[in-house]
Amino acid sequence: MLLRKDLTVLRRSPLLLGALLAYPIVIALLVGLVAGYASAKPRVAFVDEEGLPPVVSVGGHRFHIQNVIDAVAKEVTLVRLSPREAGRQLASGKVVATITVPPGFLDELGTTVKSPHLVLRTVSGGLAPRVTQQVQSLVYQLNRKLQAGFIAANLEYVRLILHGGDASFIGRKFEVLGLDHMEQQLDALPQNQRVAKIRTFVRIARLALAQTGRALHATANPIELTQPKTKGRTWVLSAQVQSYGIALTVTFLALLLAAGAVAAEHDEGTIGRLRRGLVSLGQLVWSKVALAAVVGLALGAAIALVFGVVVEAGGVSGGEPWPRLPLLLVGVALAAGVVGAAGTMLGALAREARTASLLAVLVVLPVVFLGLVPRGALPVAYWVSEFLPFAHAVKWFGAALYDTSPWRTVGIETAWLLGIGAVLGALARLSVRRLAT
């Protein structure tokens, strides 16, 4: 009855209702934008000081430079710039990194015995670690493509040793006899024990060198990473952002709503009427907890839905919450209820609606910030946040949305939230008692 009354009162407050309707849409759009930004390709300048030709030949293999770069540069957008322009855009933040091909790069590459260098410059902080990783990945992919050429070049030398022929090495031309012809030469010599030993060596060497191709491939890739396709869920930045977005909204609104509802009850004098045997203190607290849970549930669902639509429309991978929506909403209702208990306590302590709103805002910000502190950064802050609902709500939502097997985390965080809720509920009851009498 009290919950229905509170919902009716909420419905009759156009400004608050408008804010409640707009809030999840704005939050979801922001979260969607952040998710999209997280998945966007950063601009990276490509500075060609060498003047790479369209086609490069390494070990007899021909590479179309731009095709190779396009094929491997899936995570960044490479833009060709002059050294000066690249430096200017890096300084202004228009590009997040520059990759420079220095003069002499092709000559070193062509030798196949010396590793040429690419030079990477990034901005400091921000996206730098991510760009560095992506460029490392790009160089790794390029190396894998070049390996084939290098191995082919090395195998050409092996073929020469085996079969003989004309060759060049570091710019010098020469003729190689080859093990095949060497055996013929040995046949022409007078046969004795020393010649027999050399013949044996040549046969063993021919057999061994026949295996060189496989050995070189194995040496180039001592460990190959294979990734079988599974139906597992993904954990991407967009998912984290969504969890924080919902937790922030639920914490903020549930706290404010419950605090405001109790304080308004006191402002209007109705708490005195209710306390005359009509409603127990427990029922009064529960009605506010239920109000926070119901409104939090509605807002959480709205954010998750809008976020899902934004993510789908933006083609961001790893942010599809649909199958786990029911589980998420259980967590949202639980977290909102727990925060509602805290709000009830604050509202009762504040005694009037304006002070309650201000107090709720002042409390919610540090609670949220504490929840954002990583364990390694500031252990004290981390442990304080462990006894507040926000951090557990974030873990609950993250597990519900994106863990392949969320049940252990969900169980632990549910226990935490229930425990915190029980303490906050008891404190809220004490505060409301003080308010009502």
Partner: protein
């Protein structure tokens, strides 16, 4: 001897260090009306709230042997709900069987607007009438009224005293506070409070 409908035994209330009401004894017996008079801050509202069960006593005891209706000094209702919605809500909370019917009767009796308009937008007089109407839910035998006629026009005041007189005639009891000494004519007894204590309980003492 008639047994009291409400009995306060050495009931007292402190707010922090402030003694709002010193230990006070009071009985309300069927058919009587008691007026509480005294300056602001004398303890009249505190005594009425303690008798109504809206405040917990710091000391002493309040025994209630009948349904009690309470009209607080400041109208106490949900301003976003209409007069009807307020009446129906509190009727349901009080366990009134037909809440809708009870609300309709009180709306008519106090000429309250039936339109679904938030009660916070009603005139001061209408809000005070709603305040009185809410106290009559559940057909109480005891009415505790804290300056009930403040902000009411003469016609509405008469209607409130009609309610008081009807209740007394049916064997109920009434205790009201007032700043208007003319209204004590509706009382059988007058208690004068000052600084949280009853300083006089005689009509003659009050009016010479």
């Amino acid at each position: 001897m008639t047994s009291p409908l409400v009995r306060a035994v050495a009931v007292a209330r402190r707010f922090g260090d402030v003694e709002a009401l010193a230990p006070t004894d009071l009985e309300l017996v069927p058919g009587e009306a008691v007026a509480l008079v005294g300056p602001n801050g004398a303890g009249k509202s505190t005594l009425l709230a303690l008798l109504a069960g809206a405040l917990e006593p710091s000391e002493g005891l309040v025994e209630i042997h009948a349904a009690v209706g309470w009209v607080p000094q400041r109208p106490a209702h949900y301003s976003r709900l209409s007069a009807r919605e307020n009446l129906e809500l509190f009727a349901r909370l009080q366990g009134v069987r037909d809440a809708r019917d009870a609300a309709t009767r009180l709306l008519e009796r106090f000429s309250l607007p039936t339109a679904p308009r938030p009660s916070g937008e009603l005139s001061v007089g209408n809000r005070q009438r709603l305040n009185v109407a809410l106290s009559l839910l559940g057909e109480p035998r005891v009415l505790l009224l804290d300056e009930p006629t403040a902000a009411l026009d003469p016609g509405q005041r008469r209607r409130v005293w009609d309610v008081v007189n009807a209740l007394r005639a049916e064997g109920g009891a009434v205790c009201f506070s007032t700043q208007n000494l003319e209204e004590v004519e509706h009382a059988d007894r007058v208690l004068v409070l000052q600084d949280g204590r009853i300083v006089s309980s005689s009509m003659e003492e009050v009016f010479g």
